[in-house]
């Protein structure tokens, strides 16, 4: 690869956008059963939510169960923007696809920023807490957000917020999902990500090694919230109707179950979990009333038999990356010694994985 890095990434991005745009025509419902395309798009939204939650729960090890609250902030703020200014903004830009794309982009940005700010407000005080306490505080904040939404008349209060412009766009939903995945993937494979993982593995040790744990935790939380907000934006514009009820902690649990099912700390796992948990209820529709019972039984059985989730911490791209790195090294003529070192590092990584499976969230002796 002689191409500069940014150029290569730019090309990849353009190709992805092109492919998405092409698939958009297929999956928009014109050439496909609308029911299937609906499930497909809901899976895309679920992927955004699950992958973003995994950043804070899976990689940073901070057990947050208030994700639906940030989703709600993103959904409502963007919906308010779209209802009040969206149409006029699109009109001033010519009213065509471009105008609406800009209006939607602005709505997404607003939703993400608002949710990120909410994440900051919630995160700064509550991330001082650990484990169960953090879980229950985030849950509390999530509930408080719902109570407030129930009381804000400008967005419909308990009646729900209707009249939001409906955009069922495969392109948009999966673009956001892919951006989320790429962002989380790059964070996790950076110095920032290693700091986060060190916090998960042992917070005291991380702090002793000079990691500013509070700062990193808050940053991860804010990024995670902002992406949840973007997921909320997608949801708000998907059905054109919002109700505070749909953001109660049951929703948070749902997203949580997705990432646990797939494996905390595995991006591929979250994607798989998100798709599974969106498709599974549809597949179980025949047993409508037993659906949730089966669901919860599955969760308990999964925890008893495979507590690390279906995929544990395995990452699909790990092997690929290592191989590619090895290949680049061969090209720059550092052949045999490097290869053995790579082998070693892979071994070390698996060893660390095995250790971390037992140490995740474990209580220190008092």
């Amino acid at each position: 690869m002689l191409m500069p890095r940014y150029l290569r990434n730019l090309i990849i991005a353009l190709v992805v956008i092109g492919v998405l745009y092409g698939l958009d025509f297929v999956f928009q419902g014109r050439m496909m059963n609308p029911y299937f395309s609906r499930i497909l798009m809901l899976s895309g939204i679920a992927i955004t939510l699950a992958v973003s939650l995994n950043l804070i729960n899976g990689f940073t090890g901070q057990f947050s169960i208030g994700h639906a609250g940030f989703m709600a902030v993103g959904a409502y703020s963007s919906a308010y923007f779209s209802v009040s200014y969206g149409a006029s903004l699109a009109e001033t830009l010519g009213g065509g696809t471009l105008g609406w794309a800009v209006a939607l982009g602005a709505a997404t940005l607003i939703g993400a920023v608002a949710a990120g700010l909410a994440g900051l407000v919630v995160g700064v005080p509550s991330l001082r807490l650990k484990g169960d306490y953090l879980a229950i505080v985030t849950l509390g904040f999530g509930q408080i957000i719902v109570v407030f939404l129930n009381n804000i008349e400008a967005v419909g209060g308990a009646r729900g917020y209707s009249g939001i412009p409906i955009v069922k766009s495969f392109f948009w939903i999966f673009l956001i999902a892919i951006v989320t995945i790429v962002v989380v993937y790059n964070i996790v494979n950076s110095a920032f990500g290693r700091a986060l993982i060190s916090i998960r593995e042992d917070e005291l040790a991380a702090e002793a090694m000079g990691v500013n744990t509070t700062r990193y935790k808050v940053m991860a939380f804010v990024i995670s919230s902002a992406m949840a907000g973007a997921g909320g934006v997608l949801l708000a514009h998907f059905d054109g109707y919002l109700n505070p009820k749909s953001f109660e902690f049951i929703k948070s649990f749902e997203i949580l179950i997705m990432i646990i099912l797939g494996g905390l700390g595995s991006i591929v796992g979250s994607i798989l979990g998100a798709i599974l948990l969106t498709v599974l209820p549809e597949a179980l529709r025949g047993f409508a009333q037993y659906r949730m019972v089966i669901y919860s039984l599955l969760l308990i059985i999964l925890m008893i038999t495979r507590p690390q989730g279906l995929l544990g911490k395995t990452e699909a791209f790990k092997g690929w990356r290592a191989r590619r790195r090895a290949k680049t090294r061969t090209e720059t003529e550092e052949i045999t010694a490097e290869d053995t070192r790579d082998q070693e590092s892979v071994e070390k990584a698996t060893l660390g994985e095995r250790q971390s499976e037992t140490s995740l969230g474990e209580e220190k002796p008092r």
């Binding site: 509550s126 484990g131 306490y133 009333q289 019972v293 995740l360």
Partner: protein, 322 residues
């Protein structure tokens, strides 16, 4: 003034129920360091057991017996006729519901929590969420999703107090029974051998095991005790407000957990105090501010307490060690 007094009475009555549930949270947290999310749903099951028992053996049975056999026994046991109808029925219903839920608690512990005890606490927490969802959704299938109305176990009467406030006889019963149960719990925990073992386990599970305590049995006993108290709370709530549904345990359970944290989790008197404080604050907010913010109160208190005194009002501060 009368509003204040009235809200105080309502608050204490509500708070007593929160306290009973909070005790279960606090005891389980004490021995296992686990937030038993399913606890609120055990309370729901308790209310439904009370509902079926009351319909099965209580009110209808009493009416049938009272009409056919006018014997002293029927009157005394089931309370028909002109006397205050059937406090004894109410008690019998409550005790039976408590027994059933104690068994339920032991089953949950045995089949869901014990297998995951060897894993991390996070796994246990998620399992607890799973059990909670199972009880809620299973409840909707078994009991039906729409609300049911609890039969009147005894005649309710309003007693006028000074200053225009009034107290319902149901509230008095709730308070008396709750108080009796809490005293009973104190006796069990501080005056019996099993109670001492419980305290030992909550102090240090490993050492307790080394001292020859059968920790599995003690943990199961803790679950039985906590679940029985939750069931009592369920029946008492149903006596006060007769509307019950399979999802009634979610919010109440969370608030009771907040009460346990407020008092200092793992601390039994703390749970009682926390429950009362949450109950009173909540009714005060309803009375003086707005009922719509009722459900945010407990969580706002929780956040404040965790930020300023994370070990709770009566809890002891523990130092974090490597």
């Amino acid at each position: 003034m009368s509003t204040f007094l009235q809200q105080l009475i309502n608050g204490v009555s509500l708070g007593a129920i929160y306290s009973l549930i909070a005790l279960g949270y606090t005891m389980v947290y004490g021995v296992l360091k686990l937030i038993n999310f399913a606890h609120g749903d055990v309370y729901m099951v308790g209310a439904f057991m009370g509902y079926y028992l009351a319909n099965g053996l209580g009110v209808r049975g009493a009416q049938a017996l009272g009409m056919s056999a006018d014997g002293l026994l029927a009157r005394g046991l089931l309370g028909s006729g002109a006397m205050e109808p059937s406090l004894i029925t109410a008690l019998a219903v409550m005790l039976l519901a408590m027994a059933i839920c104690a068994a339920l608690g032991v089953i949950i512990e045995r089949f869901a929590y014990r297998p995951v005890r060897k894993y991390s606490r996070l796994t246990a927490l998620i399992t607890a969420i799973g059990v909670s969802l199972l009880l809620e959704n299973g409840g909707q299938v078994v009991f039906g999703a729409d609300p049911k109305f609890f039969p009147e176990l005894f005649k309710k009467r309003n007693i006028e107090l000074f200053g225009g406030a009034s107290i319902n006889s149901a509230d008095i019963i709730v308070l008396v029974i709750a108080l009796a149960l809490m005293i009973g719990l104190q006796l069990v925990v501080f005056r019996t051998k099993t109670g001492r073992a419980m305290r030992a386990v909550s102090f240090n599970l490993q050492s307790a095991k080394l001292m020859g305590i059968n920790t599995d049995r003690i943990i199961a006993f803790t679950f039985a005790l906590g679940s029985a108290l939750a069931a009592a709370a369920g029946v008492l709530v149903a006596i006060r407000i007769p509307r019950i549904d399979p999802l009634m345990g979610i919010l109440v359970g969370l608030k009771a957990f907040v009460a346990a944290v407020l008092g200092g989790i793992g601390n039994i008197p703390g749970a009682m105090l926390g429950g009362l404080l949450i109950g009173v604050t909540e009714t005060m907010v309803v009375g003086y501010l707005s009922p719509t913010y009722k459900d945010a109160v407990a969580f706002a208190i929780l956040i404040l307490i965790l930020l300023f005194r994370p070990s709770g009002l009566l809890g002891s501060v523990s130092q974090e060690k490597v």
